[in-house]
Amino acid sequence: MSEPVTFLSRAEALIGSHEAQAVESGIRNFLVRREHAFDVFPIGEELRDRTRAIRLHALANLDRLLGHFADKLGEAGGQVHWAADAVEARQIAADILKRSDAKLVVKSKSMVSEEIEINEHLEEEGMTVLETDLGEFIVQLAGDTPSHIIAPVMHMTAQDVGRLFAEKLGVPYTDDPYELNRIAREHLRESFLRADAGISGVNLAVAESGSVILVTNEGNGRYTTTAPRVHIALMGMERIVSRWEDASVVLETLARSATGQHQSVYTNVITGPRKETDPDGPDELHVIVIDNGRSDILGGDTAEILACIRCGACLNACPVFRTAGGHAYGTVYSGPVGSIVTPGLYGMEPWWELPYASTLCGACEEVCPVRIQIPKMLLQLREKAAAEGRLPAWLERGISRYGRTVSDPQKWASAKKWASRLSAPISSDGWIGRLPGPGRGWTQSRDLRRPAKESFNEWWRKNRGT
């Protein structure tokens, strides 16, 4: 039987690879910029407190806010659809598109669209779906998956993109980012004008006005949501705040934490479809509010993770993410936040291992603009996994035996003696170079100190004991 594909096996394949090196250098840039953004803005910490309060309040009143939002959006001429899961969400979108006879669909970046795998579904229905965010465009062209929630091609270098464009678009090779950008823009421009429908995500919805907000650093979001006849916005049901005042705080925090910008280049506010006096805009606006497991998370121990504003700061701060890259997680939402969201959305099997892909160093919580207690929730999910009997038997038995031994002073004293004696044949010069069994994970790359001949306890009893 072959070994199952796990976080570890994916990480092993990625560590030290070209892809992992690209991630490492990409992240360094992000970190410097984020730090600068908080340095130059002295109320940064207060902003985090306010963001947290706003998001927790929204979660506590989610049903009310969504109700207000739907009413206001209706007044503005838009329509809300409620999707219980990915299947429903895809079906609603496909029905809308078929009704309006859409053939070419342009998309701006949306993680929830990845979550519900809408592209594949619409393509099966005979539509052409074109990603228009530069990163997502590259990912689609490469037949790859995004590896970072805000920087989908963090795992590729400019050279990789140059080679891809040369191969797929038949342009001369270049690794100049401006030139690559120009090539993509030229390729996409015509599609925007021909597209029948646009699909976007929603960074934040505002209940009091029924608006959806989309932040981007490229003009594609604006094109996607204004040029085609129909605009479908896919929205995770937690992505809402009560008032504009709240939205302004969250947007400020989001830009600073995500990219170290004071504000994203484009902040698109969409309130209903085109009005008669508007020069452009879609005839129809549909917002599909997607549950897909979020209600389950909301009712459990990890509810707070829904306060996440998807800035990606925890990914950039995480030593595990930085080392292995987003693809090691094998799922749409990677890094510390993904390790909590993923088992919540898709269930513990096979995702229970993701909460273990962390050293619990706490760097994620330290940078989280919403002060989400990520390590605490990783521990809660580990507790759940252990209670479900998912840990390997050697670990479960070993820990249980260890616990009983160290909590019995006589047994502990004798265990230390035995450990020292038993390690004698496999040590040299006080060090063990190779351990059998599960301990081999350690000695694969590290020597291990041999258990002391005389423990501190024994030394104390001899020299200081009364």
Binding site: A11, P319, T359, L391, W412, L448, S455
Partner: protein
Amino acid sequence: MEGPQVQLFVTCLVDSLAPEVGRATLSALEKAGCTVEFPVEQGCCGQPAFNVGLVDDARTMAAHTLDVLDETEGPVVVPSGSCAAMIAHHYSALFVGSRREEQATRVANRVWELTQFLVDDLDSSLSASCGGCKVAYHYSCHGLRELGLDHQADRLLSDTDRTELAGDKECCGFGGLFSVEMPAVSTAIMDAKLDRIVASGADTLVAGDVSCLMHMEGGLRRRGSEITVRHIAELLGDPQ
């Protein structure tokens, strides 16, 4: 001047793998004027079990630790930020709503990490020395982020020759059982750390946690590196 009477909780790793760190901690505390007691029945704080989610086993160890420490009086000093944080921050959650909740809070309030106790409580003039060595200091994660340990070591090390270590507040990749369960990831994080330590020009790596040190020392040895690895207590106290 009569110093305080303190209880030494050495941690299971120091006790069994690095007893010299326990002796150095004892010496440092005595040099700082403390009368040190060592509750001989002590075991493990329970963190290995807690961190993999085996909370019942963690409770077994925590309950024993609480019983042993609760029989004593005065500050409990721990030469590990990680184990000190376990007792100080996580015991109350482990026993919330149980009959031990009060005991957990009582003991947690008495716990100090070694450098935290020397600097923040005693305001000791004790100063680290290592005979002209060049020190790279690693701020271990749990001490740094759960106990706010940073200025304490800086002050204690102010007479030593400190090198600038890039990423000195970033994880070394140990992560407890993570180091055994996900060895490739743990090692890759460590390797980046060791490269930076080597690049800093230090000849001695110092930290406040034996766990992280044992991981990095094991890696340095495997590389054939000449860099010496010491717990900060060993630069404060005398070997005995």
